[in-house]
């Protein structure tokens, strides 16, 4: 029987009721009396010198409150970068300024030049059209490899180059890797593009800034995954507002996928302008605006070499990657192609030496930062594509080649050659489970059936590993993080026994309001309905780092467990006092405190009431009240892993690929709410399928974004995907957090792109032609062209 309560139960989500009835409270639903609206006049050229921004006529337009330009922010800080990467030569990365409003130059289409605050949005737009602009267009820097050659135009003149950093990892292994490749029996080489993506949470970004003259306090309502981080970055680095005068609220947030982690100019602007205009100031992005102002994701160009010995054992991996930073360094941008990517290059395999080189490049495009998976999908795609190609070149079974090189269950904990040490895993188990789920045995028959219809059919299988539960603060500090990555929780037990958990984790679709209470209910033996989760408000929750990197349960949940353990310890003392028993004899069961071996017990509510009405209470020993806070800092990453299979049918006449079957066998360690976990995997797979078949942000040579709306940026729709088979039964619990959980939010997006592309290539190669690689998104046009080229 599946559990119906506590950890492991698929409890229905309580937050659904408000979302299903239209009662959700998203940032755009917040309107403050007297609010004005801001419209950002954005650059329509990729690169240019701002010779003139004349707002005289526009300022006199109806309804205009005030127009701001870069000059108004001269005394204000720029948007900070939260991670400093050190290059191969021990030098810090180049870190150019990132002004709130453009100063002197515009550096990408969408770069904000002026902000028009008016009574209505349409009035602000009218006034924007009356601003006189003189932009001297400069050559756009778009192609990364050209950008780092001598003579390229410079995105930032003051740093003298478009190279942000040239990173080598592990630099000490470079010679050994070169040697291994030289001596290899076989080397497979691939050149790969990890296509640039736009995260596209369905809720566009919104912010509302408010200022109280009475108290000199600021409040920012914003669509953020981490309101505390925004408070710290914006308060300390941009606007100079101390944290105790600044409240940041992220109410219901309509999806994030990484792009709502970062601190954006619009947030700082609305907060700043609320005081400057003495009115609340609201900004709601249109989708078109989101495309040119939300940080994009991925955008790597990589050459990977895999060396094998004569027995097909992997002996080395060497990669060279160009990673696009865009025009400015977004909050965590430098960490994505380095520490979130290079450290994962061992994958699920025993490759003894690995060398990763990453050149991060500035271009005249929207900044690029973390998007679901962040670095780990790029690593997985390279490894799993090159293994498949090696298998094809060597004429061996791709699953067998993987198995042969797996880290075996008895080898954990496993120290990889790329710094991280995996605590647990069983890659053979997930592969076995996958083979069964995906009915790989029946594939040949299904392929025949497709071929009888004039179609091709392909099967793609791959593994993935990710590092989640981000992250041990002391470690990331050494790697360049300018923040700690702990999480916090306050567990407040009220007199009548109800509990409020205030967490620094933020839920924007992950169901924390349902899953977190399951953990506490399990620990205390009470009903979930007695526990309420409060998040997303810096005035309520203790300092927290927010939700990304599949960290909420592993880190935030662990903080909650620690705080609840403190509650339990104190509650046991109170119960022992009430029953005149020894504290060591108290046991908790079904919401009651029992004296072991007797029939004496008191109810949870008796204890909580005593804590707040301490008439009969050990006041000499403990304080009244029952509220505890814990900060949890993990000692390692967690390492979810799994095996994915995709089966496609391909129409060789049109190039159209359809996903016929998709199976995912994941090891997430322990699982609190299987229903929610499966939903996370479904969504991740769809995003991975989107990357593989549909999505791609494309700039032309002039830096114009060709995919600036849903008319050209292809979002996965219901017709593009099948029902998925997902399974998480092969669990090897994490050994270093109290819940044994690993995190599940990104797995689907990490594991699925290579499965899809491997399947497409399997289909193409079954049709009597040889195709080594095809770039994502694998559009019908690209497939058709690949077929023509192979036939020619």
């Amino acid at each position: 029987m599946p559990k119906d309560h506590g950890i492991g139960a698929s409890i229905k989500r309580r937050e659904d009721v408000r979302f299903l009835t239209g009662a959700g409270n998203y940032t755009d639903d917040i309107n403050i009396r007297g609010q004005a609206y801001v419209y950002f006049l954005r650059s329509d050229v990729a690169h240019g010198k701002l010779n003139k921004v004349d707002t005289t006529a526009a300022s006199a337009m109806p309804g205009v409150v005030r127009i701001f330009t870069g000059a108004d922010f001269a005394g204000v800080g720029g948007l900070p970068c939260g991670w400093q990467v050190t290059d191969r030569h021990g030098q810090p990365m180049k870190e150019p300024g990132h002004p709130v409003l453009a100063q002197g130059k515009v550096r990408h289409v969408g770069d904000p030049i002026a902000a028009i605050v008016a009574d209505t949005l349409e009035q602000a737009r009218d006034a924007a059209e009356a601003i006189e602009l003189d932009i001297e267009e400069l050559p756009a820097v778009v192609d990364m490899k050209a950008a780092v050659k001598d003579g390229s135009a410079l995105v930032h003149d003051d740093i003298g180059s478009n190279l942000c950093y040239d990173w080598g990892f592990v630099e000490e292994n470079k010679a050994a890797v070169d040697e291994a490749i030289k001596n290899a029996a076989h080397v497979t080489t691939l050149e790969l593009v990890n296509n640039r993506l736009v995260a596209n949470p369905m809720e566009p970004r919104v912010c509302v800034g408010d200022y109280s003259r009475a108290t000199d306090d600021y409040t920012l309502y914003t669509t953020s995954q981490n309101p505390h981080v925004i408070r710290l970055l914006m308060g300390a680095f941009v606007l100079g507002i101390p944290e105790h005068k600044l409240r940041v609220v992220a109410p219901d947030v309509g999806g994030g996928f990484g792009t709502k982690i970062f601190h954006y100019a619009e947030e700082a602007f609305c907060t700043f302008a609320a005081k400057a205009c003495n009115r609340p100031v609201k900004w709601t992005a249109s989708r078109s605006e989101a495309f040119m102002s939300d940080a994009h994701g991925r955008d790597h160009v990589t050459k990977i070499e895999l060396a094998l010995d004569k027995d097909n054992n992997f002996t080395a991996i060497r990669t060279e990657t160009y990673a696009n930073m865009g025009a400015y360094l977004s909050t965590f941008a430098p960490s994505v192609p380095t520490w979130l990517h290079g450290t994962l290059m061992a994958g699920n395999y025993r490759t003894p030496v690995i060398y990763v080189n990453v050149k991060a490049v500035f271009t005249n495009t929207v900044p690029v930062d973390a998007y679901r998976g962040a670095g780990r999908p790029e690593a997985t795609f390279q490894i799993e594509r090159v293994i498949d190609q090696a298998a094809r070149e060597l004429g061996v079974d791709p699953i067998a080649l993987r198995r042969q090189n797996f880290i075996k269950p008895d080898q954990f904990p496993y120290q990889t050659p790329v710094a991280v040490a995996y605590d647990t895993g069983n890659y053979d188990a997930t592969m076995d489970r996958l083979i069964e789920m995906a009915d790989i045995a029946g594939f040949a028959k299904r392929r025949k059936a497709s071929e009888a219809k004039g179609k091709l059919r392909g099967l793609g299988v791959n593994c993935y590993i990710e590092a989640c539960g981000i992250a041990p603060s002391n470690l990331v500090g050494q790697l360049g993080a300018r923040a700690g990555l702990y999480e916090s929780a306050t567990v407040r037990v009220n007199a009548t026994g109800g509990i409020v958990v205030m967490t620094g984790s933020h839920s924007h679709g992950q169901g924390h309001e349902t899953a977190f209470p399951q953990v506490i209910a399990e620990m205390l033996g009470i009903d979930e309905s007695m526990v309420e989760v409060v998040h997303g408000d810096t005035s309520k929750a203790p300092m927290g780092m927010g939700t990304y990197g599949s960290r909420s349960l592993a880190v935030g949940g662990s903080a909650m467990v620690r705080a609840t353990e403190k509650i339990l310890r104190k509650a046991k003392k109170i119960a022992a006092h009430l029953m005149e028993a020894s504290e060591g004899d108290i046991e908790v069961k079904d919401g009651r405190f029992h004296v072991a071996g007797t029939d004496k017990s008191v109810a949870w509510g008796d204890v909580t009431l005593a804590a707040y009405v301490p008439h009969n209470y050990p006041l000499e020993d403990i304080e009244p009240g029952l509220e505890e806070t814990a900060f949890y800092d993990p000692s390692n990453f967690t390492y979810p892993a799994g095996a994915y299979a995709c089966e496609v049918e391909l129409d060789p006449e049109t190039g159209k690929v359809t996903i016929e079957r998709f199976a995912a066998a994941d090891d997430f360690g322990n699982v609190v709410n299987p229903m929610i976990v499966e939903g996370q995997v479904h969504g991740g797979i769809a995003q991975g399928v989107g990357q593989a078949l549909l999505e791609g942000a494309v700039y032309d040579a002039n830096g114009q974004l060709l995919t600036g709306s849903y008319m050209d940026y292809a979002m996965p729709r219901a017709t593009d995907v099948p029902f998925y088979q997902v399974d998480h039964s092969c669990a090897t619990p994490c050994t270093h957090n109290p819940l044994g959980v690993k995190g599940c939010g990104e797995a689907g997006a990490i594991g699925s792109p290579p499965a899809v592309v491997n399947a497409v290539l399997d289909a193409l190669n079954s049709g009597g032609i040889k195709v080594a690689h095809i770039d994502m998104p694998v559009s019908p046009s690209r497939v058709w062209s690949a077929i023509q080229k192979a036939k020619a």
């Binding site: 009721v17 299903l20 809720e203 849903y710 219901a718």
Partner: protein
């Protein structure tokens, strides 16, 4: 200009400009913020409401065009006693929503589908929801929820 329409069974009036979109009238004038705006090219469907019984994208219809119409939004979908309707309940039961932003449009489109086609196949559900984009669920549980709401047995649908 003044417009008057029946919204979720009640007559509602308000002043609008020619350019006022139906979604703005609903969200800003009537404070019915359940209807969302997720794009500006009439693709995403977060704004779907029913006008005279038909699903329409309220971000691509002028409020003035709905003058005199019967409009239903997600706020009007629950049962009279406030409990979730069959479709809403199916979305909760089958985890057909995550962040909830596309959900109002999904519910309204699903209701329109089931009115036209009370027992849709999987393919029919997917096809009908082509104008509603969800970024969270991968559609799996949405399709499952809509089929369940139509009274079909979904217990054998791939994977639990």
């Amino acid at each position: 200009m003044k417009v008057t329409m029946t919204v979720n069974g009640k007559s509602r009036s308000g002043e609008v400009e020619g350019r006022t979109l139906l979604v703005n009238f609903l969200r800003e004038t009537l404070n019915l913020t359940g209807t969302h705006v997720g794009c500006d090219t009439s693709q995403c469907g977060a704004c779907v409401v029913h006008v005279n019984g038909q699903a329409v994208k309220s971000c691509t219809m002028l409020a003035a065009e709905a003058d005199g119409a019967d409009v239903k939004t997600v706020e009007g979908m629950a049962n009279a006693d406030g409990s979730l309707s069959v479709i809403q309940q199916a979305f909760q039961d089958h985890h057909g929503l995550q962040c909830g932003f596309c959900t109002p449009g999904m519910v309204m489109s699903a209701a329109a589908l089931l009115k036209e086609n009370p027992k849709p196949t999987e393919a029919e559900v997917r096809h009908y929801l082509e104008g509603n984009i969800c970024r969270c669920t991968g559609y799996h549980n949405i399709v499952k929820a809509v089929m369940a709401a139509s009274g079909q047995d979904v217990s054998n649908i791939a994977a639990e």
